[in-house]
Amino acid sequence: MTNIVYDDAFNWNEWTVLIIISIGFTLIFLLPKKFSSSVTVVNLLYGVVIGLMFDHTIAIEPIDFYDVGDESKYQFFDLFSYTMYAPVGYLYIYLYEQLQLPVKKYWLILYILLWSLVGVCVEWLGILTGIFHYKNGYNTTYSFPIYLFVQASQIWLYHYLFKRK
């Protein structure tokens, strides 16, 4: 497997990851507590695991649609960068409860569409800052259905685990 080196300095891509993690976890600590420990841990881990699952399925050979970080090789900072998905998963469910969407069911479609758009925009920011490097014809719009699926499944999982009577 050939290793492509995109850069070898601590620059914008690393800073973007650190800024997203800092903002995300600051928000979690500042917002009033709404969930029990297990709900919090599941929602924090869900984003990380789904990010890992998709990246480590479609972003390594033989499919290899994109690289993450400074090199195509998997590095320690790449592993750390998945932490940035943790607060996103939590805030997604937090806002879902805050807006009382479980009782306003049709608004949920709009909610998922909006978060998927946010996901695409953040991914585009990731391209600009060098977190992601597309290969083999991949582009940002292909991620949109993935976001739709991931976010819809998180809502389903949240209801299945914690809201079932």
């Binding site: 497997m1 029990s36 695991v49």
Partner: protein, 126 residues
């Protein structure tokens, strides 16, 4: 659920580090083989570990706990060797001894996560 998520993180990283960073395992470059490997990594292993941890913590006898641990260990070992036998992966530096150590560590991590998880929210599990 937390056990499933934690074991997924460990297993996904183990496989990617071995394939991409250290080149100790080589996947056979075909999409169907890759899909089989991903299904094994993300679903089969996690489900085996989830069943294991549930049976382990609902069994009271020590002998049975050892039995289910050994059965899980050999199931995971057989699974990994089946991937080799079916030419889905090739070892290029990785050995069966490393695999045994990793499976042992994974079972340990699974039990530890389950133990911690059962203490969250005063014993209510997810």
């Amino acid at each position: 659920m937390i056990v499933l998520l934690v074991t997924s993180i460990v297993e996904i990283n183990k496989l990617t580090l071995n394939i991409s960073t250290f080149s100790l395992i080589k996947p056979i470059v075909s999409n169907s083989h890759w899909l089989a490997l991903v299904v094994y990594r993300d679903i089969t292993m996690s489900v085996i570990l989830l069943i294991f941890v549930n049976v382990y913590f609902t069994t009271k006898e020590k002998g049975r706990k050892w039995g289910i641990s050994l059965l899980t260990f050999f199931l995971l070992l057989a699974g990994s060797q089946m991937l080799r036998a079916l030419n889905i992966i090739q070892y290029t530096g990785w050995t069966i001894y490393y695999e045994i150590l990793c499976i042992g560590a994974l079972i340990g991590i699974t039990l530890l996560t389950a133990r911690i998880t059962t203490r969250l929210d005063g014993g209510k599990t997810t």
